[in-house]
């Protein structure tokens, strides 16, 4: 089949009224459209917002109602910051699941092939997904966390245990909680890219953040205590707690470690996305 050299290059393209090419900015806009045009996105984000903004307020209201039944010790150690932001445990679940779905949903439906045919260099798709999803998560969760904080503090005035944002650790804990959730979202996009199956990636996410701590908990404490600070959940959770637990890393140190885990997973995800058959 070597006698085909006489053929000239491709025929001229039909003239068209528009031209364009793939840029990171264009892919960002595309991923923005993709994110908001799915029902699952809107439900997951609504769930996360309600959980983040509502649960802290609810916990505050219940605490005030039961205040007279609380032991003196409980009253003395009552943490007004952590209580108001307690909704993040639930909100994070929704963010993680949605983070996985952002990419695994494309694999399960076959959409990924359309995406990669349009953007054959592939990595712009991953970066755009992360940028869009992380910013949406950050903005929505920051707004929800502020609602939770001020709503809860308003209720906590009843027994004068309310604090302001100027209180030591208050601002760091609030922003830290939002950063922790945002990083979790990114980590889950990476997991979804690596594992590709929705069920598998969600199971891995739940295992890492919710099951692993339980297993380490039942280890002999001298082993458990030395492992525990480095678990993703403890490392990332350190920044979302006003007063750090014993045997944990410092808030920012822990968060840095959590970000490192995320970056490692992201690097693996990026490499696989480029080198694996789609």
């Amino acid at each position: 089949m070597s006698a085909t050299e006489t053929l000239p290059a491709a025929a001229a393209a039909p003239s068209r009224a528009f031209t364009g090419r793939v840029t990171q900015g264009h892919v960002l806009r595309s991923e923005w459209t993709k994110l908001w045009s799915l029902r699952s996105t809107r439900w997951s984000l609504l769930f996360a917002v309600v959980a983040m903004a509502g649960l802290g307020v609810l916990i505050a209201a219940v605490s005030m109602g039961r205040w007279s039944h609380l032991s003196p010790h409980d009253r003395a150690t009552f943490d007004s910051i952590d209580r108001s932001l307690g909704g993040y445990h639930l909100a994070q679940l929704a963010i993680g699941v949605l983070g996985v779905l952002v990419i695994s949903g494309e694999y399960s439906t076959g959409m990924i092939r359309s995406s990669l045919i349009a953007v054959p260099r592939r990595l712009p798709v991953l970066w755009a997904k992360i940028a869009v999803f992380a910013s949406v998560t950050f903005v929505l969760m920051l707004a929800s966390a502020l609602v939770a904080f001020f709503g809860a503090q308003a209720i906590l005035t009843e027994h004068h245990v309310n604090v302001t944002l100027g209180h030591p650790h208050a601002l760091r804990t609030l922003v830290g909680t939002v950063l922790f959730m945002t990083a979790t979202g990114i980590l889950c996009v990476a997991l979804g890219t690596i594992i590709r199956s929705t069920a598998g990636a969600i199971a891995t996410f739940a295992g890492l953040l919710f099951v692993l701590p339980g297993i380490v908990d039942i280890l002999p404490s001298e082993i458990g205590d030395s492992i525990n600070p480095y678990l993703p959940s403890s490392a990332g959770g350190a920044i979302a707690k006003a007063i750090p637990d014993a045997h944990t890393l410092s808030p920012w140190g822990g968060f840095a470690l959590y970000c490192s885990y995320t970056i490692v997973l992201l690097a693996i995800a990026a490499w696989l996305l480029v080198h694996r058959d789609a």
């Binding site: 290059a9 491709a10 393209a13 031209t19 364009g20 959409m111 359309s114 045919i117 349009a118 054959p120």
Partner: protein, 337 residues
């Protein structure tokens, strides 16, 4: 280093065809899906990509579109590796067999998201929706679409960038007669606009309607690379000729030789194999025998396809590939001029 070499070569006048597949093999685990495949798709014509199910057609298309990487060999689109194209939707529009669409999204948003990767305006999205007749359902979720509507959406996505080349994997698959009619007219329309069309099918009859040129594969290997007419002619070269004559029995006696077989179909009608019509006519003239009808029994495209992709695939593949290279070059010169 390998990647760098690809980047460096891209953009230079490569110029063999719109799509150029050279010595490409693809192995999935144990299975060799594509085996040392070489062909090129000429600009401005409809090229059919034909083979039985499982022959490697879809795999080859995935290799062309950069979805899968070949185990060996190179695939180029307009002289570039697909992954190096800076605006692929403008160069080559693709519709894959299994719908590459998120079922939870509306047709409009699906197309919009694809358009936005290239900065293609919304007006063009509306245009292709209109073109494939999906306006009524454009805002509905794709999950509820029928197979035919899904195919139309796939075609809309392929045409989004107004590409000079369109590649379609089994576009007629699972369509009802009306849908097949629509696809056929659409393909003719695309070809009439001067676009290069590369479409796969396992149905020979579809190809007979639309294609100018054929690439036939079986078990991942090239069987034929030829014009449709040439494909049929070659497949029919060893078929029979029917001869009607009032002197049938005399004719039979003069025709029979060691390498010629003559069968009597009915009174006055013979079926001859081993001689062509011209030879039979000459022999009859010399023997002064009257011939009232002389019909080569031309194989249909379907029969030609069956005979080529039957049990003897391995044997025929090498024979056809060697024999075809010359006719391919003359074909392409014709197409280019």
């Amino acid at each position: 280093m390998v990647l760098w070499a690809v980047v460096a070569a891209c953009g230079k006048p490569y110029g063999y065809g719109v799509i150029d597949v050279r010595g490409v093999s693809k192995r999935y685990g144990e299975k060799l899906a594509v085996d040392d495949l070489t062909f090129s798709v000429a600009p401005g014509v409809v090229t059919g990509f034909l083979g039985p199910n499982g022959a490697g057609k879809s795999t080859t298309m995935r290799l062309i579109l950069g979805l899968d990487a070949p185990t060996s060999g190179t695939v180029r689109v307009n002289g570039c590796a697909y992954r190096e194209l800076s605006a692929p939707l403008h160069e080559i529009g693709a519709m894959l067999e299994a719908h590459a669409i998120h079922t939870g999204r509306s047709a409009y948003n699906h197309l919009l998201a694809l358009a936005q990767t290239h900065g293609i305006p919304r007006s063009r999205v509306e245009e292709v929706i209109e073109l494939v007749g999906l306006r009524e359902v454009a805002r509905k979720r794709v999950g509820g679409f029928s197979l035919g509507m899904g195919q139309r959406l796939g075609v809309a996505a392929a045409l989004l960038g107004d590409p000079a080349t369109v590649i379609l994997d089994e576009p007629a698959n699972g369509l009802d007669p009306e849908g097949i009619h629509w696809i056929r007219n659409l393909l003719k329309g695309l070809a009439a606009e001067g676009r290069t069309v590369f479409l796969s099918s396992h149905l020979m009859s579809e190809m007979a309607q639309t294609a100018d040129h054929l690439i036939v594969i079986g078990r991942g290997r090239l069987i034929a690379d030829t014009s449709v007419a040439e494909f049929v002619r070659r497949a029919s070269s060893d078929t029979n000729v029917r001869v009607r004559s009032p002197q049938a029995s005399e004719l039979r006696d003069v025709l029979v030789r060691s390498d010629v077989e003559v069968q009597s179909i009915e009174g006055g009608l013979l079926e001859v194999s081993g001689l062509n019509g011209e030879q039979i006519g000459e022999i009859a003239l010399r023997a002064r025998i009257v011939i009232s009808e002389l019909t080569p029994q031309q194989a249909t495209l379907e029969e030609a396809f069956m005979s080529l992709t039957g049990d003897s695939v391995e044997y025929r593949a090498s024979a056809a590939a060697g024999e075809e290279s010359e006719s391919q070059s003359s074909e392409n010169v014709g197409a280019a001029a």
